[in-house]
């Protein structure tokens, strides 16, 4: 019997408060712009802060009030931005969301190690210790700071020891670029066009070739080979201007260590894993 009383009493009290709340919601109803809620439904809702507002809700309000553009939501992607614009009846300035690209291909098999690191799983910590365990002091340490910071689960640590960006999941929020202590992740415009020098080393060619099979040795062969003059030397590193690059592939043929790759060939997670497995088989 006691339990019945308890249930009835609690139910009645709950009902009373519920009715009170319902009444209050009616009496004190505040008209909110329905567009704010509509926009808030559309945005990814990760509260990443890439737009510069305190959370997705604040961004939605700002967009409706005209303080922000739909495109300011970096992770939203083209489709979502278009849809937000449709809700607001606005034109969108078309620009695809950027994609995170890792500028290092010196994986566990191609780059030598100076010593075995058994410390904390953190690139920043490892990098501070005697300049990092990798022979190349510019290359990716592969301890996954970028993987951990990604709110969209778009970066995986490949079994070859390099992070692999899922181009579909990547929303271009840029958190990984900020998390990499060696600044190896750059946000590039979306799309697969253009070639890239996938190296960040500013060491002399000799030092690079000792440390890494695939690092840029600053031989300038690509600069000479490029018919569009799209490649320039930035100190001891070749850099390709994506706007000028026509994907002719001449630089790839001339590059001795094979540092230059077309963007379309940057492997997905599965491909990278398959390649790593193949390598392992060879060495075994």
């Amino acid at each position: 019997m006691l339990i019945v009383y308890a249930i009835v009493a609690l139910g009645l009290i709950g009902l009373l408060f519920g009715l009170m709340l319902a009444a209050a919601a009616k009496v004190f109803y505040v008209e909110i712009d329905p567009r704010v809620e509509a926009v808030n439904e559309l945005v990814p809702g990760a509260n990443c802060g890439a737009c510069g507002f305190a959370g997705c809700m604040k961004f939605s309000e700002a967009v409706v009030n005209g303080e922000a553009e739909p495109g300011d939501c970096v992770p939203a992607g083209e489709e979502t931005v278009a849809e937000i614009a449709r809700v607001l009846g606005k034109e969108v300035s078309a620009s695809g969301s950027p994609i995170a690209t890792v500028f290092c291909i010196g994986d566990n098999f191609k780059t030598a190690d100076n010593f075995i690191y058994e410390g904390v799983e953190d690139c920043k910590v490892a990098g501070e210790m005697y300049g990092g365990f990798k022979a190349c002091s510019y290359g990716c340490l592969g301890l996954g700071n970028c993987v951990r910071v990604c709110p969209f689960d778009a970066i995986d640590m490949g079994s070859h020891g390099l992070p692999v960006v899922d181009k579909i999941k990547c929303t271009g929020c840029g958190l990984c670029a900020g998390a990499c202590p060696r600044d190896l992740i750059k946000m590039l415009p979306s799309g697969d066009e253009g070639h890239l020098v996938l190296c960040a080393s500013q060491d002399r060619g000799k030092t690079v070739s000792k440390a890494c099979e695939v690092g840029c040795i600053a031989c300038k062969a690509c600069v000479k080979a490029c018919p569009e003059e799209a490649i320039e030397m930035n100190d001891k590193l070749a850099v390709i201007d994506l706007e000028k690059c026509t994907d002719c592939g001449e630089c790839v043929k001339k590059c001795p260590p094979g540092t230059i790759h077309p963007r379309s060939a940057i492997p997905t997670a599965e491909e990278a894993a398959a390649r790593a497995a193949e390598k392992e088989k060879e060495s075994a």
Partner: protein
């Protein structure tokens, strides 16, 4: 009158809710990073605690006790606090948008603040009268605010200080809270009900 004054003194200093009773540690550590947010939270807590104590006291004395349902105390009080916060939010939004903006996220956060539940339960356990309960709630929440604002002031200064790397972040915050708590122990035994 004398009792009311001693309630005020005791629950602001001697039995400070945060530093001596260890209620509401989560908001104490969570929102004490900036003075501005600390003040906002304090105001919201004072407001909600007083209101919650008033309503729960009435509910307890005029509903739970006559019907012999005092064992439902905790559940109903949680219900009351949650609905009350929701109600206050709805009303504030309409009546005073400025205050609503000012309190902002802190209002819904208070729903889960154990200090609010503690104040309502303690008011019953101490067998306070209605006036005493309300004074007690105000004193307890002012004590909470005092601790929160002192902490915010210290933490704002800590931002400038050079802290050994191992102690940075939450470590130094917890140590600060501990020292603050020890300092408040100085009031211990000064006055009791």
């Amino acid at each position: 009158m004398e009792t009311l004054l001693s309630i005020i003194f005791i629950y602001i200093f001697v039995e400070n809710f945060v530093l001596q009773r260890f209620f509401g540690i989560c908001p104490f550590l969570g929102v004490s990073r900036k003075m501005e947010t600390a003040v906002g939270m304090s105001m919201a807590v004072i407001f909600v605690m007083t209101l919650a104590t008033l309503v729960t006291w009435l509910l307890y004395s005029f509903v739970l006790v006559p019907f012999g349902l005092t064992y439902l105390q905790i559940v109903t009080f949680i219900l009351v606090i949650a609905s009350l916060v929701q109600l206050v939010e709805t009303v504030l939004r309409k009546i005073s948008p400025t205050l609503y903006q000012g309190l902002g996220i802190f209002l819904p956060l208070i729903t889960t603040n154990c200090a609010v539940l503690a104040v309502t339960l303690l008011a019953i356990r101490q067998e306070f009268s209605l006036v005493e309960s309300i004074v007690f709630a105000i004193a307890a929440s002012v004590g909470f605010s005092l601790a929160l604002i002192i902490m915010a002031g210290i933490r704002e200064r800590l931002e400038m200080a050079t802290i050994p790397e191992v102690l940075q972040g939450s470590a130094v915050t917890l140590i600060t809270a501990g020292i603050l708590s020890i300092a408040f122990m100085g009031f211990q035994g000064m006055l009791s009900l």
